[in-house]
Point group: C2
Chain length 580, copies 2
Amino acid sequence: MKASQFFISTLKEAPADAEVVSHKLMMRAGMIKRLGAGIYNYMPMGLRVIRKVEKIIREEMDAAGAIECLMPVIQPAELWQETGRFDKMGPELLRVKDRHGRDFIVQPTSEEVITDIARQELRSYRQLPKNFYHIQTKFRDERRPRFGVMRGREFTMKDAYSFDRDVASAGRSYDNMYAAYGKIFDRLGLQYRAVAADTGAIGGDRSHEFQVIAETGEDAIVYCPTSDYAANIELAEGLALSASRGAAAQALAKTPTPGKSTCEDVALLLGLPLARTVKSLVLATDELDKDGVIAKTQVWLLLVRGDHELNEVKAGKIEGLKGGFRFATVGEIESRFGCKPGYLGPIGAKDIKIVADRTVANMADFVCGANEADFHLTGVNWGRDLPEPDLVADIRNVVAGDPSPDGKGVLAIQRGIEVGHVFYLGTRYSAAMNASFLDENGKPALMEMGCYGIGVTRILGAAIEQNNDARGIIWPDSIAPFTVVICPIGADRSADVKAAAEKLYGELKALGVDVLLDDRGERPGAMFADWELIGVPHRVVLGDRGLKEGQVEYQGRRDEAATKLAVGDVLGHLKGLLKL
Amino acid sequence: MKASQFFISTLKEAPADAEVVSHKLMMRAGMIKRLGAGIYNYMPMGLRVIRKVEKIIREEMDAAGAIECLMPVIQPAELWQETGRFDKMGPELLRVKDRHGRDFIVQPTSEEVITDIARQELRSYRQLPKNFYHIQTKFRDERRPRFGVMRGREFTMKDAYSFDRDVASAGRSYDNMYAAYGKIFDRLGLQYRAVAADTGAIGGDRSHEFQVIAETGEDAIVYCPTSDYAANIELAEGLALSASRGAAAQALAKTPTPGKSTCEDVALLLGLPLARTVKSLVLATDELDKDGVIAKTQVWLLLVRGDHELNEVKAGKIEGLKGGFRFATVGEIESRFGCKPGYLGPIGAKDIKIVADRTVANMADFVCGANEADFHLTGVNWGRDLPEPDLVADIRNVVAGDPSPDGKGVLAIQRGIEVGHVFYLGTRYSAAMNASFLDENGKPALMEMGCYGIGVTRILGAAIEQNNDARGIIWPDSIAPFTVVICPIGADRSADVKAAAEKLYGELKALGVDVLLDDRGERPGAMFADWELIGVPHRVVLGDRGLKEGQVEYQGRRDEAATKLAVGDVLGHLKGLLKL
């Protein structure tokens, strides 16, 4: 490609609404252009990256035996009503009526449609397993779209769906996709981690997120550097931090802590480590009568150590909280604890259920609120000062340094950006839509399903969050909009420069290299700034002076400075770098 | 590809709602699957064809210097309000509100968005010309979706938009796209014709449709076999069929024609050629007052020869009818002509404007209604029996055998399916959206635009309408889902057959041929029927008996019978056919 036949449009400044570096750099490099909130035009430079990402995904999906199809963007509501999602999904599901007033949705995903295809097409166990995928435009009407392609409303996603005859076979389909995802992210040239994720209502342990490692990532991912344990923060198991409860050494005492309503403030005031304090969190669950009116409310006190945080996903797995919970109101708190929030504790509160985190359950001589404004209790001990908790459970986020649940080391935490997800669905959709097949005995059985997504356009943002510097984007070779850029200096004045640039361009093209020749006639500074911003990984500069000495300059996008090469060596040098 | 790793699903019968052969065959061959009215899943077999069509289009668009981008499916209403199309377009424009109640549309085309990009990005004459295209999902909420992918609601289209500094340059961009389209349809392997089309309000002669020739086509296309004249029926110019008016030879006479209200019936009754009769068509135009109430109605009588048909597009170009017309009501007809429809004529009607087709204006001794029920007039002559018409114009459809407007022969008519359209837009969109650039003198000027569409998914239907037989589809090599199919017979019983099939499969794959090995173990009859239905152009059959004699069978999809080839010759034979 020659620059004069392409469209290059770079900006010195990013628009004010761009909050994260990938959004800023994609706008500045002319990869995307905003059309509306969370809706972007993919400009020619950005589309080249998307196409390369899609090609890698497609090749690996095909190699894994998945079969590509294409399901519509606009889908009839009927199928979504069969699974209940038409009503259950919130306003992020974009609903639309056609000219006849019939309901449709703009697809955010395609479980319903693929299950509809499967129940019609897959009749016999002989046709299973099957895995269908498509790469298609999706829409999710995010309440607050932001971060460019990272949380847009319209985006491109690859979604695959497997259909199996039984759980064992579904497990093999899952493992197959898990392995394919590894190959895909390897080829994309990204640092990533596959982490176990929560399976919600489905249960089981078959859910993994593929997270691109980036300091700016929204997700916390937990791993053990000395084993292969990895999970997202919602799932990562927190162990009790002491093996057993210590003996009580202090007497129970009430201490004035005026205005000190946080564990941090209390610990500071009392000169104690934060890890000696216990945080009280008050939840509520409502029982509704048959008219949907609240008949009874149960209040829950969840206790985590002062330096820990409640994990709401884990709390939601507790029997009694599974059906959904809310934080208690100030009124509810005051009526049960006789005290305003900030000074709450488990002693003396009435008609509540107490859930202690595993670590809290093993604490002795701890500090908690006295259920009296401006007072805390010290030297609190389970059994002696209050009854044992109603329930002990893992309800906190793990922190770096915690023991790994596999017993093989201590946990570390990184930030990540979720770009892929493999998920065992079981019969959630096949049961709702009656997608069954006939087994060897001619008996109908529900298909076991899995779903496997990759956020195609989000990968661009994640790759940039992981790979950038002050000058711009640093694309991995495999997905760069161009692999090599040739920058001739003064080609308009020097026939030698022009000829040498054209010669190298032709040679690289003949090798199948995705090379761009910058024939725009820009000044060297502007030209270099453009390509560093755009993030092309390999640059060759040809100038009249250098050529007279038989030299050209090569610079990798991560290199501090350019390397001088003999004219005759540059092709070989690039072939080596590009492994050709 | 091996069949066992692909998804093949053929049907013996087409669903009842499939009206045309392409729809029936695409359903039967498992290329598409209905999701809703005019909304289809593209199944793996159909998607392969789509991808091949897209690849050819993309390669030729790139070669022509067009630059690919990707504009969103969901577009903000604001831009469509700027051009007025948000309100002007009928219910075929699918409108949707987001969670905040803001208006969006599901794009049927992208003039507004690309013009918005151009007005921001193309600031200087130095950046022009530019041509951007995308291949994207479109939605048009057709009142009566039918014919499968031929008139669906959701479909894939390639749309390109050119931006030029002046009319001359826009003409070159247009010619460039016209030439690229020729290359595309040549490579698609389709018989097609580029025909001049009406430019509507834009004017000028820069609009061509690319029509795939098919007897079942919805459009009539007109061409001159002895010259390069070609136009669609709306545009093709009808000349007067006699060079000048003959002298009056008959006296005017009123003849009873009871119950004969059509030209055909009257000609038959009177024993005259249909070409001696004149058909009367009554139109009306309304003048509205400032409150939108009809202030005045003008009635028009349009006269075409009895064997001709009125062309409403041509009628709509007449001064006075340009603003829109309707057919007159029976009441209006009776009040002006004093007679019910069926016996109308130009003599004696009051307060009407008479427009005669060119051919009618040169007729003598013709027959028309007497404006009296059950009577016609014979021997009617202009000037003698009634005044000259108010206007003489080309208002009829041409018919086969008419003189070609270029004077180089006579016209023929074919049926066609419109699959592409190139259109000079002028400043229609750039003026509405103020898309201007600075010219050499630093003065702002509006960009001259063109738009260029190809119906990607419709091409599948058109190709099938043109290429099919009783057994199924006959794909051109370039877009067949597979180019060659290898059918081993009894591979489960014969290791020789299996080995020979695998060997040929490997050899063809190594040559880059898109080959499918049918390893499903189907009976020969079922296997052959599948591939004839699906339409793979080249088939090789290997059987144990043949192999023992060193022979395999080759059959082209259009061949009457198979050809026996020596095992060693089949690869060479295929290489010859595929020009490898």
